[in-house]
């Protein structure tokens, strides 16, 4: 038996993401025509789009740098990584500087505003964020 191949289709919406993985066999996948692959992708996209609406990453709270911060941070990771943190201003400063070192595109004039925004909106004494669950797998 030939080894399996995973075909990953990842659809990213503006603030959402949906994952599909389809285990196939290389012998099968090689026989898929481009048209067939496109049809499969289209069907998956349609099937995905409804749950996708419910799977969007939460929007960051309103604020003067909300748009800039969303652009800079969600290039690499989704907003849930941010909104689950409960940190002091000192800790947020370290995080922002680490992310700039790791390639986050932050205009130097915005650095302090980012730290202010994050430490105001996600301070240590704020109640924990309620995170969603993965939906039931209908195939099981």
């Amino acid at each position: 038996m030939s080894p399996p191949k995973f075909v990953l289709l990842s659809f990213r919406a503006k603030r959402g993401i949906c994952f599909f993985s389809k285990a196939t066999r290389t012998a099968d996948s090689s026989s898929l025509s481009l048209l067939g692959t496109t049809k499969v992708a289209a069907v998956l996209l349609v099937l995905c789009s409804l749950p996708l609406l419910r799977a969007q990453s939460p929007e960051l709270p309103a604020g003067p740098v909300q748009a800039k911060l969303t652009t800079a941070c969600t290039e690499c990771h989704e907003s849930r990584i941010i909104i689950q943190q409960r940190l002091s201003k000192t800790a947020w400063t370290k995080e922002v500087d680490k992310m700039i070192k790791w390639g986050a595109l932050v205009d130097p004039v915005d650095r302090d505003s980012f730290i202010e925004y994050l430490s105001t909106n996600f301070p240590p004494d704020k109640a924990p964020e309620q995170m969603p669950r993965v939906a039931a797998n209908k195939k099981r």
């Binding site: 030939s2 399996p4 994952f19 409960r86 969603p132 669950r133 993965v134």
Partner: protein, 388 residues
């Protein structure tokens, strides 16, 4: 007084009621649920990178089903994984560098290890003062049967030179921007341990993509980060790998820190084996019991040590009773435990659990604080209300 038969019947009933039906009903009806095929009911800490936590109530079997097994990704998963073209390179301080393909790996003699895998940051959310990172509570842990060739058999084929002291793992994760790649190493002594594997199967099936298909390291008893996923390179080094995820990442202070103090990386060591720890699977926090009899159960593990005792307190730690340990056991696997308790009266109660291992370690009331919240292992605690 409850008979043993009634106790066992009660435990199994409680497992069905509290451990399965309740959480299933709760999350299945949740409109905000996120669709991730292959995974079920896990708490979404992050969908990109994928970080999924098992709700503690899912700890109702010794082996964790793959759809309930926590997922911890540091980077983006590889966008393409094709076993037909996948290769594992073995290089560095070896006599004969190797390139192994999927078929080569499948031909090697497999070995199976039942291992409790836990993220080093499991419980980070309970650290005070709070620390940054994925805010795992109790469920970045699970137990599975991992199978594949022993790492030492692969290293034997390559022939480790006397200068080979550490073994580095590198996977196919896709690294965004200038983020350092997720590369870690383990000492050669652990690498050649008979239970250290290059796992290709999990619970009898091929690894799923989220768990590292087609092959991952499996370093039993050690923090999950040691068990690199989507493995593509094994390199034997003459010293510990010095990248970000070895230093300053995944390090523990040599001496206890005052909460809030920074880590001095020169006075720290890389994390290796897991701590002694127990968690309460049921009842869950804020549970209202409609019966005076409450069946308390959970799991306890200790990395490469054995669990010898789990104790439960129902009076906020004033007194402790021994829990009954489950029958299933393996060297690196958790023990399930249970304890039946009859509340003396209607009211609010705090239930605690603590485990003791074969090295004489007992879970502390307060975990040692460290700036990344690693190895959190304070008593587990749930508050419940007994209503009738």
């Amino acid at each position: 007084m409850i008979s043993r038969r009634d106790f066992l019947r009660g435990v199994s009933g409680a497992v069905a009621a509290a451990g399965a039906i309740h959480p299933l009903l709760t999350w299945a009806a949740d409109d905000s649920a996120v669709v991730i095929p292959g995974e079920e009911g896990l708490i979404v800490r992050s969908a990109r990178f994928l970080d999924l936590e098992m709700p503690p109530a899912f700890i109702d079997s010794w082996i964790t089903p793959v759809p309930h097994f926590f997922v911890r990704n540091h980077m983006h998963e590889p966008s393409t994984l094709d076993a037909a073209t996948w290769e594992l390179k073995v290089s560095g301080e070896v006599e004969k560098p190797l390139t192994l393909n999927f078929a080569d790996m499948v031909r090697m003699e497999p070995h199976t290890v039942t291992n409790t895998l836990e993220c080093a940051g499991n419980g980070r959310a309970f650290q005070r003062p709070r620390v940054p990172g994925v805010q795992w509570q109790r469920g970045a842990v699970g137990t599975a049967r991992f199978s594949g060739p022993r790492l030492r058999d692969i290293l034997h084929q390559a022939g480790v030179k006397p200068t080979g002291k550490h073994v580095m793992f590198h996977g196919l994760d896709e690294v965004p921007s200038k983020v350092p790649p997720f590369i870690r190493s383990i000492p050669i002594e652990k690498a050649i341990d008979e239970d250290t594997l290059i796992a290709m199967r999990m619970n009898g099936a091929e690894l799923t993509r989220h768990h590292g298909f087609p092959a991952r390291a499996l370093v039993p008893g050690w923090i999950g980060a040691a068990s690199c996923k989507w493995l593509s390179e094994i390199k034997v080094l003459d010293k510990e790998f010095d990248g970000n995820f070895m230093k300053p990442g995944y390090r523990y202070p040599n001496h206890p820190l005052k909460p809030g103090d920074p880590l001095n990386v020169d006075d720290s060591h890389p994390l290796t084996a897991l701590n002694v720890k127990s968690v309460i699977a049921s009842p869950t926090d804020d549970w209202t019991s409609k019966s005076r009899t409450v069946n308390i159960h959970g799991a306890a593990w200790a990395g490469d040590a054995d669990i010898v005792k789990v104790e439960v307190s129902t009076d906020s730690g004033a007194t402790w009773q021994a829990a009954q340990l489950g029958r299933d056991r393996a060297k690196y696997a958790w023990r399930l435990w249970s304890h039946s308790w009859k509340a003396p009266q209607v009211g609010d109660y705090t239930i605690l659990s603590r485990a003791t291992d074969s090295q004489g370690r007992t879970q502390p009331e307060t975990a040692d604080w460290n700036p990344s919240g690693y190895l959190y292992n304070a008593y587990d605690q749930v508050k419940i209300h007994v209503a009738t």
